[in-house]
Symmetry: C6
Subunit: 267 residues, 6 copies
């Protein structure tokens, strides 16, 4: 299963930069250099790509990678139709044919042969050869390749080989600064910024526990969930537990500690 | 093999809440937030979902996940029919097309690519892209996604990645409180509540052994089985052994200890 | 390969109970509770099921499970016939359609997705959904599900998950008591009971070595083999070695000890 | 790949018994009990079966088992012929239909589902159910099942489960006694018995090294090879090295020791 | 997925040799000896092959190898077309039929059966047998086989067997000397050589960390990326971080050290 | 991929024996005994077989075995042609039908079921049963089976089982003696024997390092490569490094030592 999203190019999704990522993106785009986005779950990488694509007026194709994603899922395959075999472009091939940004989310999850497909697109050849159809597609100047991954999950089996990594300009992402995050959560949840602030403070506290008691810090998405539940009438402690604690851990001890911690911060 | 159940929306299965789970469900439903149910075997998660679906008048599709369940089992596939290939929706696609609750039971058991299918349905896109048909289904406002799993089984190979977990509001489930459980067992088994009480007491004792001598505590279902056998005429010790001890362990020592324990409680 | 046996319902195979198993079976049948039979190789589980099925006048479908048995082997699949695809029921589906007992022998050997097929048949839904045909079969009141396994083989990879185990009323089986076993062996082998007795005594001694020197004790079947060879004219020591020692071990030391032991008992 | 041999029933291959194996075979045959032959490589198990089959006037089907042998290889499968699917019997099914001995050589090598096929043929049912054709073949009284394996290779992954082993009467095989082996080698190689004798003595010495320096002792076949090479004119030391030493080991030290040993014995 | 590039033979890609590699290539070509190129990521192996192919006027077929590349991907396979099966040459077969250089990049990544295909092409037979079509293609005198791999990745599972390695003349590659690298980066990035020099110095410093803090040194490609970003207006430290530090490591400590190091060198 | 070579029987490839291998081959051929060739990479096993085949006037079929080679690759399979299934002989079947030598190179690399195919061809049955076509091919008296392997690679997973090994007469191969090797290299490379001699001396020194610093010694093929490069004009040290050092090792330390060693020998 490959997931593809073609974002309509009319809307520019809101995005508030935290560093030089927009300038870097635009410079990379000027020189047609491929981009690697690194950062934790839910810190806004996908939103950033959508924002930049809209800003530059480029169509965007997003592919969420997973363990079973093969090169053929990206490039295309022959299917049987009416007793005959017909070639059907995959999302990467479509993006190369039509131009625009192709974004491979969590690329380390994909099968190893995917890297091979990306190599000729990421050096001076800028080309996608389709062995099975005999075509060699030259990427148009409007084509740009972006990949992302979460270094926090990186393990021995799932890494980008240096021969692949060294084909990308890379940007490190992190969570939004406090004020930005409060504004974003308030806007998305319709809850008062004043009521959002302690939730963001709690999230920032919980993120410090990453690698100690928690595998991963709280995403901004979960803070928005929490604020949404509160805005819809759920008591604060119940909303915090359901949206900011239970999704993080199954360990009774850790959970108890988080509940106590959240009680002290939200008091 | 995928198991799907479309519960007819006329009946509202009985369910007696033990905490704020009904309010939490309804608030999540108001904001269309996806829900994650955590809890041990046989504590009523499936019944709870059936109850809430009926109460909210929503059709319910249940998929029991297992080791071989792939994304295609959920979204659909092309099948050969009369020499031609025809697309057949999977249960998740049907639920997205027609609205209602789609409930993936024991979701950690499924193959890894399933998580990828769920991601676009669980963020602000609320969308199910079908690469193979070229469709992008927007989930109707009547669509809600619920997943469950049993943290007791959690191991290194079978966990939800944080990038998936952090897309759900989560509820922790546990067994019913004593009086509730007695009432439920009596009602389902047609055995007198007075005769059910010691069985529930025994079950509550046995649940304390979880992680010590037993892999999992006694489910309410087994207590109902036991009461049913007694109601049908089987002597109490034989019913207890057949329904509340033999299904829990194969270890002769543990079994002997459980028989002695049950004898002392049921005396 | 799936093995199915439809026992003709006219004959009632002989079976002499060793405990409350017949009453327990009948009570479970009255309440339509699914049954789990536990016990060592060759202690009569299969014969017991055949006996009870015939006694209750129920058709019996037996499926011997193995490492490669999948859910589809039980429920059915589409086969190509004359250029078209035709659905063919598996043995479980046939049993659900037509009623009667479906007995899955050594169920832990089967693939993991089999458990998922059994779940909806073993709770209050009593239903077999066939995703591929779009059918949902309600089990008729004449349907009963029985599974068996040998806890002696149980290992980390091959166990029933608690969520599956806790769906069954369970019966523990063991070998026949001495007098019963002598009668059964004499009857099946046509050898005098007086000559059978020392063979049964030897078998009972050998069973004590299980877990020490032997992986498994001698089955009643092997005692019958031994008695048959003697009845056909083979000298006792040769028959004992061929039917009760060589099938148990390949270790020269253990074999020598068993030969000596049998010599001392049969003297 | 399944290997089948239908031995023409006219010839009775020579076989000189070393113990009670012929009487035991005939007694098992009288009571239609299945037989398990255990013993090292090249000690004559296959020849013994061929001999007994011819002596009893029974057609013989031999299947050499290997890692990829499945139950379907034994029972049969549907093949596409002229656009239609046609059932083709496997060797076991043919043997059950037509009667005679079916001999599965090195049965532990086969896949696990093979055991399941054998179970109903090896208890009082004596039946081969063919799920895919819907047939249930009753084995004719002329049918007998024989399996063999080499306990020397036995490891944790490749064993017969007790539930399978305990369905067979078992015979342990070993190499021929000295005089018999000399006679057999002389007869097969056309070399003088006097010249064969030291070769057999060497073989008997080498067999004592099994488990110490050698994985397996020298088979009678290799002694015949050696004698054949000598009879054809090759010098004795060269023949011994090529047929009785190089096939046994690749270790330079062990080889040197064996050459020295053979020199001292053949001097 | 196999990636093939047929470089048009008109252009001669620029390449500045660092040793005797051009003479060695030409001598090997004169004697039609196969060539093995060893060296780190991005040191110019692929460019070297393209350069030599153009210089010798030979068509070039490049195949990037990966974990799933099989012998059939190289030689060809039968495909269904219009109901019939048609043989389609793979890239190696095409190269053998039409002559020229066939270059297998990162050959150790490919499946083991690939080596077998290469053997008859790399000894005095110079032949490609196609079992499935029954053809035996003699390589024309214009055919040359080149393979490459990166010894830095070499591990127990992924190596060339001696029986394969010993069929090639081998060349060890390393990064360009300082002045050459400055010239190449300046030319490709359009940045002043004076501004490129410190970047190359930094790269040379970072390469010394290989095996200590870094898995692999900085490729020339990344230095070109960095210079391109600077030329396009990005501040030097931001360009260095994005193109020469973030692509190398995800470790916060290592990154901080690299930033400090680059600050001290670029000051 | 299976590689087959049918050597035209007109040419007799040059081969200079190092021991009794030719006489042994001919004696084995007289008695139609199967042959096992053992020895290191590039010591001339394949050439020896080609030589003997031509000398005896026998057609030769060579199959290079690899990890994915199955029994069906050797015996044949049904292929779809024009909507019908047609049986196509594999190389072993062809050789059995038409007579001549069938040589399986590096047989331990092949899948386990290949051994089973070889068994009936290597005992007194000399027969190839084709289960799928129902044929039983008796090998003609002109048929001989030869297998080879390199004991240096032997590991726990890749060995010949004793039951297979003990079906072959075996010959151990080693490199040519000094004078022979000089003559062969001079003849194949067209370089003066005087200039070849130090290269062979170097090779003989390097072979002593096998198992210490090198996985495998230098093959005669590499010495020929080296002499060819020198004859074509490359300086001796460059040729030695490219053809006799770089193909042997990737370890910088080992390489430096080998360069020094070669310098001292070639001085």
């Amino acid at each position: 299963m490959t997931m593809i999203f073609k974002t309509p190019d009319a809307v520019v999704p809101a995005y508030s930069p935290t560093g030089n990522e927009c300038a870097l993106f635009e410079t990379a785009w000027m020189r047609r250099l491929p981009l690697l986005l690194k950062g934790p779950t839910g810190c806004g990488k996908t939103r950033f790509v959508a924002h930049m694509a809209a800003r530059l007026g480029l169509p965007l194709t997003t592919v969420s990678c997973h363990d079973d994603l093969t090169a053929s899922d990206l490039t295309g395959r022959y299917l049987l139709k009416g007793g005959d075999t017909v070639w059907v472009d995959g999302p990467l091939t479509s993006a190369v044919r039509e131009g625009g940004i192709c974004y491979l989310d969590e690329v380390v999850e994909a099968r190893k042969d995917v890297a091979v497909v990306l190599h000729p697109l990421t050096d001076d050849r800028r080309m996608l050869p389709l062995e099975r159809t005999g075509e060699e597609l030259a990427a148009p100047s409007s084509f740009m390749l972006i990949v992302s991954y979460n270094p926090g999950y990186q393990n021995l089996l799932k890494t980008l080989k240096p021969s692949t990594r060294q084909r990308f300009v890379a940007i490190e992402f992190d969570f939004l600064p406090r004020d930005r995050e409060i504004a974003v959560v308030a806007s998305e949840s319709r809850l008062d910024a004043a009521k959002v602030a302690p939730l963001v403070d709690l999230a920032r506290r919980l993120r410090m526990l990453k690698g100690v008691d928690l595998e991963e810090g709280v995403s901004t998405r979960l803070v928005i969930y929490c604020a949404s539940l509160i805005e819809a009438g759920l008591p604060v402690p119940e909303a915090v537990r359901a949206a900011m604690i239970e999704p993080l851990t199954d360990e009774p001890d850790v959970r108890a500690a988080l509940i106590e911690l959240s009680g002290s911060i939200l008091r």
